[in-house]
Symmetry: C2
Subunit: 132 residues, 2 copies
Amino acid sequence: MTTPLQTAAPQTSLDPAIVAQLKRDENGLFAAIIQQFDSKEVLMLGWMNDEALGRTLTEGRVTFWSRSRQEYWRKGDTSGHYQYVKSVSIDCDGDALLVQVDQVGAACHTGTPTCFEAGGVLPAVSGTRPVE
Amino acid sequence: MTTPLQTAAPQTSLDPAIVAQLKRDENGLFAAIIQQFDSKEVLMLGWMNDEALGRTLTEGRVTFWSRSRQEYWRKGDTSGHYQYVKSVSIDCDGDALLVQVDQVGAACHTGTPTCFEAGGVLPAVSGTRPVE
């Protein structure tokens, strides 16, 4: 690799106040948690850069940055499984977003309603809050 | 830096089937979405490596890898704001976990119940599903 890794904010139409609030990884990306707005089910986790967030905030539909294909990916353009934006929040240190959406059809490309049903449950020991 | 970035699975006590299912970033990490099990509120997003996940699956409490401090961080050890594990799911491509917990006190170090209240809502144009 002959160019330095991108860490500075890229040129976008995004509000400068939001640009300043975001904390990007070595590839200029941050995580976007996608949650169904009414059932509160967590549907998937995707990745965005500044431009993908700018599009998501202005178009009423969610756009990701695809790490595997290295291109913008507006959810539903090929599958019909649109994600209509209801609200977008940023976390305390600016490296994660919570995007509440109205999901049409399956959120997962495997056809399951959420990507976590596709991957499955891992065996875990439960913890319990002590009785006070 | 004289050693290559870690991409291979490290040595842990984690089940080899889970080790094979995980997809790690350049730093050996994957994202963990933390959700309150009963209200379904998304509390925060943290990062884990294989060892942090192994501890989370066996100890009944959530352990992260702190990227800023470069150390394991068992939630609540200093704050008392424990996260008791209820279930752990992995997503379709193995780079994100959904951890349902019973959160004691505030999930965010700023004192707000979730980290997304601390960061705040971004101005977004809403999208609406067409009437069928």
